[in-house]
Symmetry: C2
Subunit: 147 residues, 2 copies
DNA sequence: GACTGTATGTCAGACTGCTGACATGGATCA
DNA sequence: TGATCCATGTCAGCAGTCTGACATACAGTC
């Protein structure tokens, strides 16, 4: 390793944030591959596991993708029998998605796998530091104009 | 189990990290649009501005994309006359990229725009908190197996 | 010198996610 | 009631990124 003078980019919060995000994303990919799940698919399952009956648009917002992308994710998961959507909307146009029994089972396994990967990624930080990190990040979100 | 209105996902460091990353990415997109630059293109310029003569592969690693993707970025920037690459490699196969005068000018404007966006994104945090956040994140990177 | 291993640049194909657009259902208000 | 606006689901097209592959250039070993 050549010892360059630490660039200015290393001093940018955004750059380091991107770095950690990339590393975590990669770790999640590896952890989810055996379950044949992508990160967006996992995110969708996790969101539904915690808030059953969310609509496509609502899932998209919480997973930080567009409605169109989430639509494809939902379709694929529905084909695999991991979730169900009613043919007709009970109110308005929103179609509430629900996990099937299989979906819940897959989610349980995926959740533990991701949790392990995440734990490992933040292992250098003590529990107190992790809590502090989460709070600092959450503070930034709070000021963000909701998309 | 806290049954707060906030879901369990909100308690996940990874989720909040993703949230902040998405918000920052979006802000950077908006800030760079007037300059007709994408985020990867800006990243490339910024990296070259701080370490002139980096190769395609090295830029790719530091920008967290593949060599192939960075190759397209470099080509596009070269077409716009923002950087130059020698036709022949001075050593090995690595082609060192250099910013042109125009490239340096665009970088200056882009850099201030991005810096403003980043400053705004992390505005809720005091300078001390931002420093702490950067250190915490950097600690996570240190343990990551380098890609 | 020949062989092996590693790193780089580049091409081709597939996949993912996005933007733009349209139709539908509901709420609001004159 | 009719008009307007907003949110949702979905279709089509396009740009960006990735995986896989190949040829090339250097360093190390025999």
């Amino acid at each position: 390793m050549d010892q360059e003078p630490v660039g200015e980019l290393e001093l940018s919060v955004g750059y380091v944030l991107k770095q950690v995000h990339a590393s975590l994303r990669s770790a999640m990919d590896v952890a989810l591959r055996p379950l044949d799940l992508t990160v967006p698919q996992y995110a969708c399952l996790e969101l539904l596991g915690q808030s059953s009956g969310l609509s496509n648009s609502e899932l998209a917002r919480r997973a930080f993708v567009t409605r169109q992308s989430m639509n494809l994710v939902l379709r694929r998961l529905q084909e695999r029998g991991l979730l169900t959507r009613p043919d007709q909307a009970p109110h308005g146009r929103a179609l509430p998605s629900m996990l099937t029994r299989d979906g819940q089972a897959v989610l349980r396994r995926a959740s533990t796998a991701v949790r392990t990967a995440e734990k490992q990624a933040f292992a250098p930080l003590s529990p107190e530091q992790q809590l502090r990190l989460r709070r600092d990040l959450a503070a930034c979100v709070a000021s963000t104009p909701s998309s």
